[in-house]
Symmetry: C2
Amino acid sequence: MNRDHNEPLIVQEVAPRDGLQIEKQWVETEDKIALIDGLSTCGFTRIEAGSFVSPKAIPALRDGDAVFNGIRRGQGVTYVALVPNVKGAQRAIAASADELNLVMSASQTHNRANMRMSCESSLAGFGDVVQLVRNAPYPVSLNATVATAFGCPFEGRIDEERVVSIARTYREMGIAGITLADTTGMANPRQVARLVARVLELVPAADLTLHFHNTRGLGLANVLAAYDAGARRFDAALGGLGGCPFAPGASGNICTEDLVNMCEEMGIPTGVDLQKLIALSRTLPALVGHEVSGQVAKAGRNCDLHPAPEYVRTI
Amino acid sequence: MNRDHNEPLIVQEVAPRDGLQIEKQWVETEDKIALIDGLSTCGFTRIEAGSFVSPKAIPALRDGDAVFNGIRRGQGVTYVALVPNVKGAQRAIAASADELNLVMSASQTHNRANMRMSCESSLAGFGDVVQLVRNAPYPVSLNATVATAFGCPFEGRIDEERVVSIARTYREMGIAGITLADTTGMANPRQVARLVARVLELVPAADLTLHFHNTRGLGLANVLAAYDAGARRFDAALGGLGGCPFAPGASGNICTEDLVNMCEEMGIPTGVDLQKLIALSRTLPALVGHEVSGQVAKAGRNCDLHPAPEYVRTI
């Protein structure tokens, strides 16, 4: 629990992408831009701002180009775009995304269900994107995600060796950034500690991101286990937006303000302004048309004290 | 993370008391009894089944006597009653409660607000209850809770020394069981690890209970920190029932099925039947008239796999 305990924890905000992608209520392009611009003032150094996927597959994010072209780029902020293939990568580069994030599932079944192709086809496509990025007109970073790295809703347990081997393959292909994603919230803290330790033998902490969902309530416990094992970069979504089609009503991504609150209470610096974040999170229910799962925006920070009841003075 | 990592974790189910006490919809006595009887078949060894407080203070639990007299006592299950004073203790003993749980806040302001008396008056009352229990017609166990042990919504930070000193006082008075309660969800894992280590110098692990709320999303992370620090007994409420008047909409107690699921995934035995628990939790929304905050009853267990979509076969 005490290893490197004051090293900063880097939060990558993913609400504009992984949060909004499953929302049924259409969020206007200008509202997406306002949300991202709001996030850019909170102190994040990384924001996943949208995706360049087929509008048929994810209609909620069909305006990725307009969003990337409309946002005000904060200084020192890396704006990431999720791309499924070369076509998406071309669009993302045309929209000046700073970093591209590719996704393949460790589970063959999940990759076929989610990306509609085998893992082998996914990897071949990644090779084409690596080539494209090498010839890009400006420096573009690359990240690739191992989805279902901690469990698959179709296959169940995922072999740790397979995840490690995919991470190795990504690196050998020239992809620097690696994300281990608990796509449907099946990870537990001990498993996380083990897998993170393994992957950190291949990938420097500065290049490794952990992406947890809170589907079974373990999101923040998993963050701590990963942090204690040496991981330093974590995805989180404002308000805990996002979710999983297999867990209706359950929580989505870990909630950014809950994560930042935990870090502040524990003395781990994040560089993110919690008060601004809470104010921004409180605008979400109006934006998406429903309550969101984050707790701190409802409960307030520990330091937001309450007045004692009147009668206390007379006791 | 690996200390004593297969020692059992004991879950004390508190939904019938700490869960139901803030519910606005009246839960019929027979439904409370059915809930407790259902819990008694899930493998718990401890259930906080009700309280004997003034019906004006907590109308939702005004039928404590009828509940205790109506339940079927499971073999090896300790049925605990919360009591605020000697009068409550007399009622609890008349109803054959196995154990009495007393409560005082570490925060003077919170104790005055919650118990309507100073900490000194609370302790004097505890002395009277200890005497009463010594003369009880059957063996009655005693537990006392230090509420707001990790923070107070009125006073903020609570001095660790004060909490340790209250635990010492309880023990010196002849109260064996000690609960450290994070009444409004202000604890963080590092603070928990520190305080648990301190209190375990005074109180054997078999007598120490940790009571966490998930108000700011840290409930299960705090359980793990306490477990790793040597604590073995934890309160939790089915469905995550309960809450706090200062955090409308935020989570209440840590959720029993989410806790048991975490333990199962990590290989920590609890003796509780997760499947039965989930089935029971799914009856709660009808009982209390609203959705509850637990996640696993919505998402299912990791091993509850989903069929892959049809089209996967053709890829």
